[in-house]
């Protein structure tokens, strides 16, 4: 199958993820969308690895998975902590870094 299809699917998932990050206000959903974007990148990596016939892209994809797992752990931890401190679960309300 042509590599173009894989990349199209990858781009589509990436765009969906990016759109989610930009439009949704719940941090939980933002995390989910981030996960989508990472996996879109993984898909592209694996597709290219197959095309070139070596394993480097696949190894890279596994590392991305590891990083994603860590990121989700931290992110969920932060959300739980926010919940416990009764902070609003809304990225627009959390804007203390304003200049």
């Amino acid at each position: 199958m042509d590599i173009g299809w894989y990349l199209t699917v990858s781009a589509l998932i990436f765009t969906i993820g990016a759109a989610g990050v930009l439009t949704r206000r719940s941090p939980l959903v933002v995390l989910l969308c981030l996960e989508l974007m990472l996996n879109a990148a993984n898909l592209a990596l694996i597709a290219f690895a197959r095309m070139h016939g070596n394993a480097e892209g696949q190894i890279f994809a596994i590392i991305v998975l590891v990083v994603a797992a860590c990121e989700v752990t931290v992110g969920l931890g932060v959300i739980v902590a926010m919940r416990r401190r009764r902070l609003p679960i809304d990225v627009d309300e959390l804007r203390e870094l304003q200049g």
Binding site: V91, R95, L97
Partner: protein, 670 residues
């Protein structure tokens, strides 16, 4: 390291160790322990100096210039900065005078300031001062000389303002320090001018190459030498940089004896003698030195006749005698100038010590108008004062007679326009006789004042309320002021020993060098001045005989006039003062030097400072530079701050837009 070098280092190390030891363990010692510790350190230093002398004399005649290098301090980019000492007859001569006289002055101070609250501090300072002075005279290169020079200035500042609760004392200290720093600047710049051409800081290498590197009266060399002279004038209190010396009499009397008579003020004389190869190559600068020395000796002599403060009379006489020395070494009479330096150190330290004893008997009062008739009450002090006075006035066979006349003989021998200096020198000697014995007659003769009467009955007068002799302010004797008690030589053996030794030296010191008979100093200093064309001169018999007779007559005539005016017929003094009112006013106001310097330098500088503060600092610095910078930063940051909204999604959008833009750029560019 051979033993000569070791002795030189030890001479330097003992006072430094003494400073530290007195400062650290002095406060814990009982009684006068700190004073004895300081004195002991100095005595050891003097012993080392004698050791150096013995070792130096043991060397071959042409090898008596030894450089002791401690270590390389910095040896880069053509600067050879070493910690090195130059041990030669001149420096050994100086360390003997400095360490010897300082030891006696320490001994005197052990009792003299016995009840002062700052007893330990005083000895720590005193030892540090002697260390600085020894460093100055032992320095083997310009760098170390400058270090010693600056240390001496700092130490004199600390000692002049020793009674730091006295406003007048701290002001005098500041004045001395500022003028001395001016001299330091002169010395550093002068060094630069010379270093630029010879390319080395080491003294001996400089002197060797000065003939090759400079033409006679080369402009740079003359400038360098005149700048060195500025340094010498500031330290040696020569006109017009002399105004600090009389004010420095605010310090305790032993300080006056040590710094302002025996050691510090001779640094300028030493400098000129040390730099003689430079000055001989730049006769214009040497002539400037001789003329200034001559002016100083006359101006100081006239002021000394008019002032009424006991210590200031001696201070002006110091200025005048240093004038003789500066004139001598500038005119090539090196041995004579240094001979006068050593005899002057003896009799001037003695005079100050005797004056200190009188001031103690007056409970701190220094005004000659309130003194009188101490002759019977204080016979020992009186004797010392007379011996010192006779030596100062140049009466044979006291030491000052031979040294002063040697200077004048050698200057007279040079001929040409130097005869003006020759005549002025004798006028100065005449003035010396008058003012010295005016002081002695007024303090010791005439009707005894109440304090003298009380002392005759065995009670030493202690003031109930301490007041500053300069302005009458009431003082607190607990902190930073002279102690409640006073000590006079008649009752303190240590003071007596110190004064007795100096009196003896003041009497016999002249025997070191009698024309045609002995020439100890001449032959001892010869290795240092070997190259000098002016050093080896034979004087005519006629000139010697004429000079000695004239010198003796002039001195005795001055004393006779003083006796006639202030003892025989005190009315004359009043009449003369009224007749010559304008002249008297000029002398009492010290030739208006303070006012002149105030008008020419201090006031314009103050005006400039005020202007700078009001206008330059407020408008340019505060408004333009500081205000401008903060304005730019503030405006820039407020623009950037607007982008920081704190919206997470906004940041994410920016990132995505940025990445997309970059992707498009690379896609289109490829």
């Amino acid at each position: 390291m051979n033993s000569l070098k070791l002795f030189a280092w030890l001479t330097l190390a003992f006072p430094l160790a003494g400073t530290i030891a007195v400062a650290l363990i002095g406060p814990k010692l009982p009684g006068r322990g700190a004073g004895w510790l300081g004195t002991g350190a100095l005595a050891l230093s003097f012993a080392s100096a004698i050791g150096a002398l013995v070792k130096l004399q043991g060397l071959e005649h042409d090898q008596r210039q030894v450089v002791a290098v401690g270590w390389d301090y910095a040896n880069t980019v053509g600067v050879d900065a070493q910690i090195s000492l130059l041990v030669d007859p001149l420096s050994v001569f100086m360390i003997l005078v400095v360490a010897g006289v300082s030891t006696l002055i320490h001994l005197y101070s052990v009792s003299y300031i016995g009840s002062d609250a700052g007893y330990v501090r005083f000895f720590a300072y005193l030892n540090f001062f002697v260390f600085s002075m020894l460093l100055l005279v032992l320095a083997g290169n310009f760098l170390l000389l400058i270090v010693g020079w600056a240390f001496v200035g700092a130490a004199s500042y600390m000692l002049i303002s020793f009674w730091y609760r006295r406003g007048t004392a701290t002001n005098a200290g500041i004045k001395a320090f500022v003028i001395n720093v001016l001299g330091d600047v002169g010395l550093v710049l002068g060094t630069y001018f010379i270093f630029k051409h010879v390319g080395t800081l080491d003294f001996l290498s400089t002197f060797e190459s000065v003939q090759d590197d400079f033409a006679r009266n080369d402009a740079d060399l003359v400038a360098g030498c005149i700048l060195l002279l500025v340094g010498a004038f500031a330290k040696s209190a020569q006109v017009p940089l002399h105004t600090w010396l009389p004010d420095a009499m605010e310090g305790p009397t032993p300080v006056s004896a040590l710094i302002h008579a025996a050691t510090m003020v001779t640094a300028g004389v030493y400098l000129i003698a040390r730099m003689h190869p430079l000055f001989e190559q730049a006769p214009i600068a040497a002539d400037v030195g001789a003329i200034i020395g001559c002016l100083t000796l006359l101006i100081a002599g006239t002021i000394a006749i008019a002032v009424t403060d006991l210590k200031r009379v001696i201070a002006y006489s110091t200025m005048s005698q240093i004038g003789y020395m500066v004139m001598a070494v500038s005119a090539g009479a090196y041995a004579a100038g240094l001979f006068h330096l050593i005899t002057h150190a003896f009799f001037k330290a003695l005079l100050f010590m005797a004056a200190g004893s009188v001031i103690a008997a007056m409970a701190g009062q220094q005004n000659l108008d309130r003194m009188g008739g101490f002759r019977k009450a204080m016979p020992f002090t009186f004797g010392c004062m007379v011996i010192g006075g006779l030596a100062l006035a140049g009466v044979p066979p006291f030491s000052g007679f031979f040294s002063k006349d040697e200077i004048l003989l050698l200057i007279g021998d040079r001929g040409g326009w130097y005869w003006i200096l020759y005549v002025a020198g004798y006028v100065g000697a005449f003035l010396t006789g008058i003012y010295t014995f005016r002081m002695i007659f007024r303090a010791f003769f005439g009707e005894p004042v109440p304090e003298a009467r009380e002392l005759e009955e065995g009670h030493l007068h202690h003031a109930e309320v301490h007041s500053n002799p300069a302005n009458g302010e009431v003082e607190d004797t607990d902190v930073g002021f002279p102690g409640p008690e006073h000590h006079i030589a008649e009752r303190e053996p240590t003071m007596k020993i110190a004064m007795g030794s100096l009196a003896l030296l003041a009497i016999v010191g002249g025997l070191l060098q009698i024309p045609k008979v002995t020439h100890v100093i001449d032959s001892f200093l010869e290795p240092t001045f070997e190259e000098s064309a002016l050093y080896h001169r034979e004087l005519g018999d006629g000139l010697i005989a004429f000079g000695l007779v004239l010198g003796a007559l002039v001195g005795i005539a001055g004393i006779a006039i003083a006796y006639f005016i202030w003892v025989k017929n005190p009315q004359i003094a009043v009449t003369v003062r009224q007749r010559l009112a304008p002249l008297h006013k000029l002398f009492v106001n010290k030739w208006y030097f303070d006012e002149l310097i105030g008008l020419l330098i201090v006031r314009p500088m103050q005006w400039f400072g005020n202007w700078a503060q009001q206008t330059f600092e407020r408008v340019v610095v505060n408004g333009l530079l500081v205000g401008g910078t903060t304005g730019v930063v503030r405006a820039g940051s407020s623009a950037v701050r607007a982008a920081q909204t704190g919206f997470l999604r906004y940041y994410a959008a920016l990132i995505i837009v940025g990445i997309v833009a970059m992707t498009f750029y690379f896609l289109l560019a490829s």
